[in-house]
Assembly symmetry: C2
Homo-oligomer: 383 residues x 2
């Protein structure tokens, strides 16, 4: 009978329309019935990626789409700049290494964003010249937002391509593929796009396609040329995850109804409210003020509070799922997501739960001040 609430940075809650779509009888993937849905999904993808380019759909986790960029763009022996400011940025370096690409790691302190000038400098001074710069739109492990627009300006002046992991954030925070001239963007289905995990996406521009033509790394399942050829026939090279595609179509209808920009503004208010609540409760925000993501907020916990225990109690005893810290942040932070099918009342209940458990765990708190601060943000923004 206990109700469960999901405020984790992926998966995010499913709208009822998405759940209903998932429950429909399955249809065959090589039929006009399915292909008309797939066609709509392709339009929806262009909308959320803010691009006129084709978008590819993989049956995989976001990591699969990340891997697809490495194997399609590069060759063994190439160098590539990998921005590592968290668990997901770190993955770019590991992926490059697995494929014999020399990663030039730009280590960024967790909680801070990469300085675009460091990338500029690395692009100038790395020999052989880096073929790609791998970055993360929203580093879920730290709640940090990267200034992709500025980085794109820098990378655009070179022969390298900019690859953005937008698994976390696409559909929730700005990521204008065409306008910002981002060469390659990948994403996943279970965060801003509000469906279960299982699909991943990629879009790339002409500059990136030139690298694809030159790439010598072996590939098959993720081979962009196969996806491009299939897409020209409104199809996919392998059996697609039909039910997830149908669900994605339902999610896109909702996202299009609301409008991407309206969504960005809404999540900004939710993010503001969580930040205000945390500060009102005397807690510190983990991410630097200059680079806090509107997709997920990371909050430092008082040293006296066992963060792993707090997350467990909130989830298992109270049904409110938030994320804890990863790696060296284990037990030290909690992360509250505000992307996808999340609204202000779920923020209120999450903050109220946090207040109660902190209080229960012996941390002195004025019950209600977090909720009050959040509410004030809602009112100020006419929510």
């Amino acid at each position: 009978m206990k109700k469960n609430y999901l405020l984790t940075p992926g998966p995010t809650p499913l709208p009822p329309e998405v759940m209903e779509s998932l429950a429909r009888p399955i249809i065959h993937h090589r039929t006009p019935q399915f292909l008309s849905i797939f066609k709509e999904v392709c339009v929806g993808l262009k909308y959320v990626f803010a691009t006129k380019q084709d978008c590819f759909v993989f049956t995989s986790s976001g990591t699969g789409a990340m891997e697809s960029t490495v194997v399609n763009l590069l060759s063994a022996g190439d160098t590539a700049i990998c921005v590592n400011g968290g668990k997901f940025g770190e993955r770019w370096g590991k992926l490059c290494q697995a494929y014999g690409v020399e990663p030039v790691i730009v280590d960024v302190e967790w909680g801070k964003a990469v300085d675009p000038k460091v990338i500029e400098e690395k692009l100038k001074n790395t020999k052989p010249a880096p073929k790609a710069v791998f970055t993360t739109l929203c580093e879920t492990s730290t709640g940090v937002s990267t200034d992709i627009r500025e980085i794109a300006k820098i990378v655009n002046k070179t022969d390298a391509v900019l690859v953005v992991d937008a698994v976390s954030g696409l559909g929730a925070v700005p990521c204008y593929t065409d306008e910002w001239q981002i060469d390659v963007v990948v994403s996943g289905s279970q965060k801003g796009l509000m469906i279960p995990p299982g699909l991943a996406f990629c879009t790339l521009n002409e500059k990136a396609w030139k690298l694809v033509e030159a790439s010598k790394l072996p590939k098959f399942y993720y081979d962009y040329k196969k996806y491009k050829a299939s897409l020209a026939k409104n199809d996919m090279p392998w059996t697609s995850a039909i039910s997830l595609i149908v669900a994605l179509n339902s999610a896109f209808k909702l996202l299009q109804q609301r409008g991407l920009e309206n969504g960005f503004k809404y999540y900004e208010v939710l993010a503001d409210s969580v930040r205000a609540a945390a500060l009102a409760l005397g807690l510190e925000l983990f991410a630097d003020a200059s680079c806090r993501s509107n997709a997920v907020t990371s909050i430092k916990l008082p040293a006296s509070v066992d963060g792993a225990k707090l997350v467990k109690i909130m989830r298992d005893d109270y049904g409110v799922a938030v994320a804890g810290g990863q790696e060296h942040l284990k037990g030290k932070i909690i992360r509250i997501a505000h992307m996808g099918y999340i609204n202000e009342f779920e923020i209120v209940l999450c903050i109220s739960c946090l207040e109660r458990i902190l209080s229960k765990m012996g941390h002195k708190i004025d019950l209600g001040v977090g909720v009050k601060a959040a509410q004030e943000v809602f009112i100020k923004n006419s929510l």
Copy 2:
């Protein structure tokens, strides 16, 4: 208002329990709630693979799992025997080529099964000695069943490993991994296992693990070592397709309730009924009598009948989806699946629809003789 019926060889229809599971609110994948489900799924996988070994779960199509065997077992320059008797067998050769593995293609006439002695001969005479033999349990494109048991006996005498693509057929026809000593078996979710496409699986024995240790091909997403390490912690390396895993657990409960052997017998009766119906209608079966699969039946169409049109009319006008022929068989055969959540009444309605449309398309047929023949098989087998 039109009712739709799915008798295609993947995807297969979803049981109501599976549809209901798919519609549930999403839960986070790194929680005790999900991991207890995943634990049950791992038990279910061992049951359907008939193995005591660990089974890995990939978020991918079946092709992804096929690729995983190539990149984990082999190195560039290796040779491997690829049995090519249809569209899926052909994929093994293409996969090997993409990764710099030299495929020794054993071409088998479509509709016939590979002669195990040919594999024995190729194993003896290929230099350098093949590291792997890639085969297909049920070649969906032709309706042919491969004698995996006999091939395993041959391959087991050599240093090569036997890899079986059981995407089509697992759970519907016998494939005893441990008893037959098959070194590597891969499968997918959308056929005998009765859930939507999106998950793929693999199990491998100690002999195959030795190849994994020696393999030099690059890999990351499909890296078996990562899956093994995660599984030891009851987890998966990447965000899994949560809703599909939950659905798979529901499907496994049904398969376990019925019993694997009972299922094999049931599908054999359904296959017999479709074959009897086709013959009674004066149609020829495409697959050789010695190797007809109990998962899918391929039926030759009269030269006067446009098979592509027949499939289209059955599906779009009557709601009965069967598969047509692929490649050079386009328009020449139809394929009726009898695996997964299919019962004898769906066979009856499919045959009745086939009778009507053949008749409509000008092919002389005694309406009802196909259905009668199918019914007689049901009665004879006490269904």
